[in-house]
Symmetry: C2
Subunit: 498 residues, 2 copies
């Protein structure tokens, strides 16, 4: 079934045909040139591609995919390769062509009346955001990789991040896509329509499919008015249930204006401050449950200054926070008084990964749960980790129920000496018991195929396999990723290991 | 291929097996009892079902679907049958069992922490809204059929309505579904998760699939804080471009708080007032382009009363409207001063269908366009209609680009004597030229199959057919609807004809 290594003569003819499509300059075969395309940001997955094709248009993508189908060569679509699950690089077991969309960077249309933007897959997220900002609008997808990740990859993985609470995932910000299917057919669904009930939702089928059903070549995205004012605060609360009460109170008080509600317990802050002594803990005493809160408004009224130079939104949020302190729901709070203080809070937040990696974290689970289960899960998981000799650190996008649950060896313990597999299974079983997700925002790629087999609803998995077989009967489109086709095709089962 | 009429002995055995599942009381065979299930709200499509099964649980739905698959009997899932496209009744060409979900009405869980509700498919929308309101929350899907339509149907057709601008379609309000696939497998995707990147998006594939890929049996839905204050106004503007500018100004001024922006030209208002003389035109002079505007906020600050007893949101909106009148973007405006005045405006809006039907409208097109194309489309379509001897009336959910474009014979002209097919084709060609949708919110059912063939992107249609064949290889699940499987299988091509 799998193409371990295509025959050399087949390959030569295939390469020649590919060069006919993109030209020799944009078809990389040199070992040094193709090597970077064998690795994503995780660094955990590596296989040198057969070659790398760099198409400049949807027509070229289509021609290349047809060649792959005709020659039986697997193809791995790639963008910024900022994923952590090996989704954008060939699998060890399967030689493949990498098709990088990096040359397809055009912003095809900025529609100020409809407040949409149509952009090609290779456009970098931050580049798009800058262009949209120039038109006085915002594209609010926000995560650490924004300076490197490309729109096609963000959609293919349904990227999340820290603003999902307010604006949704990549999926929720997309109105239409153009894609090349596994047989080379171009599907034109670049609709800017808010309502269109004419058949199956192929847009959402391709979004989050991690390139296994086709290659997204362009998308029409929603844009929103730019926030005129932001209020950013760091809060300390006594426990997770109190944190959720605070979230609801702030949402209700502001009419749902919370952009970020990021969970940062004191041990994580300590780890960051140890890693980078220039970072200072935002509160004087320990914040048992620290929350980075950001509220934003595009309403001019909220940006108005009072006599003391404070903006209306800030005054409104401060009034509420004072009331919540009074009621002892919040133990302590600090509010950013200027851009620098806001930036300091976010710098701390964005240094989480480096901080906990430096502290010796061995693996990070990307899970989500119903809000009502968060508190009990964190308690249970901590006990389970301890039972196997691990300490845990947990951060997350609390408003979405999305936790990044990290484990490290207890003091003086090398995690390599500990039963990682058993601990992982215990924690993931608990997630499953609570009907949570074992991959909230990072996706599956080649990293969590055995978790798909173990935890994904069997009925859903069967339907996915049927769809994959129907649309990609040769299994050439990012093969082996996302959907374990048979029980023998499993990945490492690991979440991300720094 | 199609089952024109199953053999009697097969049918007897099938019926007996069905009765074994749901019991004799819940398996209707009597002619009078099954007759209502052969018709939807349009009244345009009728075929007596073979029988009607009324399952009470997902397990019973699964058992019934397995029986259908085993006996080769087509099954048509039905809810409130408030659709206008014949999607919920058997096609003339295909005898079928109707499976009505009307007994599955349970609200399985109200999660106040996660602000979600899990409900069975047969629950009536308004019943759900009342239950959610008792929990202090809102489920904001809003359209005329809310007192009769059921959640399963609302999701299967991705229902829209007048609040889509603010809250999205049914799709956008759904977090997870449970469904029975064509082979009887139960897919459990009743997730309340905001983030879950574990495979293909089967939820959105089944939403809007009009029951052709499976039967939605339950769903987990988002709920939102209840608005505390609403401001409702009726505006007169000079043209559609001015209307869109006003929309953007109100959105920007209120931070995106517009719930409804309904387009009602004077001829439509005249038709309503003629139909029901108790209705009074909201403005003194003619409103060439009338707009019913509603802004809502769940923010306590917006509900505060000033010294004169006016709410803050109302004052804020009035200030803006006065400024827009000053700038001559708005020609005239009236604001609802109390609940009765608000209700009067909505009563007028909700009488549109009766009003224009009474005026002699022959067909209503349910189309959507990019906002930038609305103005030119309306002008072109009016000319085209006139060329064939028709007058046109147009209303719509303007903020979504969704127009209900209605045509009637010119004064003294019976539309039956006019070239309806040619006029319809001319208008639909123009919609297609502008990359609009020929079915914005009503769906396809059996009514627009030939428009699917003519206007739907061929690549998308091919993919849909593959998915349908892969998941329903016997073509028994609401067969013939939505996806024309071959060029011979076409519907009437009509939009809704009152």
């Amino acid at each position: 079934m799998s193409v371990a290594k295509p025959k050399a003569d087949t390959l030569d003819a295939f390469f020649e045909a590919c060069i006919g499509v993109v030209g020799p300059r944009h078809f990389l075969q040199d070992a040094d040139a193709v090597k970077p395309y064998g690795r994503d940001w995780s660094g955990a997955y590596f296989r040198t591609p057969l070659a790398v094709a760099l198409p400049s248009s949807t027509a070229e993508v289509s021609d290349l995919v047809r060649l792959c189908a005709g020659h039986g060569i697997p193809v791995v679509p790639a963008g910024g390769r900022t994923g952590l699950c090996g989704g954008s690089v060939p699998m060890r077991e399967r030689a493949a062509l990498v098709m990088s969309l990096e040359r397809m960077t055009a912003i095809r249309e900025m529609d100020r009346v409809g407040r949409t933007v149509t952009v090609e897959a290779g456009c970098i997220l931050e580049t798009l955001q800058d262009a949209v900002a120039e038109a006085g609008l915002a594209f609010p997808l926000m995560f650490g990789a924004k300076g490197s990740c490309m729109i096609g990859g963000a959609l293919s993985t349904n990227a999340g991040g820290s603003n999902v609470l307010r604006y949704g995932n990549a999926r929720d910000l997309c109105l239409g896509i153009e894609a090349v299917m596994p047989d080379g057919t171009v599907v034109n669904g670049l609709s800017a329509l808010r309502k269109d009930n004419t058949g199956y939702d192929l847009r959402n089928l391709l979004i989050g499919a991690e390139g296994t059903l086709g290659i997204i070549t362009a998308a029409t995205l929603k844009t929103l008015p730019q926030p005129l004012v932001r209020t950013t605060a760091f809060l300390s609360v006594s426990d997770l249930d109190a944190a959720l009460t605070v979230l609801h109170r702030v949402q209700d008080h502001t009419g749902g204006a919370v952009e970020a509600f990021e969970f940062m317990p004191q041990p994580v802050i300590d780890a960051i401050c140890t890693y980078n002594p220039a970072i200072r803990s935002p509160l004087e005493g320990p914040a048992e449950i620290g929350i980075l809160l950001e509220v934003a408004s595009s309403r001019p009224m909220d940006a108005q200054l009072n006599e003391e130079g404070a903006r209306a939104l800030e005054v409104d949020v401060l009034t509420l926070l004072a009331d919540l302190v009074e009621k002892e729901l919040i133990l302590d709070a600090t509010i950013a008084r200027n851009d620098q203080q806001r930036q300091d809070l976010w710098t701390m937040r964005e240094m989480v990964l480096e901080g906990i990696t430096h502290a010796g974290v061995a693996e990070i689970f990307d899970i989500s749960l119903s809000l009502k289960h968060l508190s009990s899960f964190v308690a249970t998981a901590k006990e389970q980790a301890a039972r196997f000799g691990f300490r845990s650190l947990v951060i997350g996008h609390l408003g979405d129920g999305n936790l990044h649950y990290a484990v490290m060896g207890a003091e003086g313990q090398d995690p390599a000496d500990l039963p990682m597999d058993a601990m992982r299974a215990a924690i993931m079983d608990e997630v499953a018991r609570l009907n949570g997700s074992f991959s909230a925002e990072h996706g599956i790629g080649q990293s969590k195929l055995d978790q798909m087999l173990r935890y994904k609803d069997a009925g859903q998995l069967a339907v996915m396999r049927r769809i994959k077989s129907a649309l990609d009967p040769q299994n050439l489109m990012n093969p082996g990723k996302l959907i374990p086709l048979a029980s023998t095709e499993v990945g490492t089962g690991r979440s991300w290991q720094p």
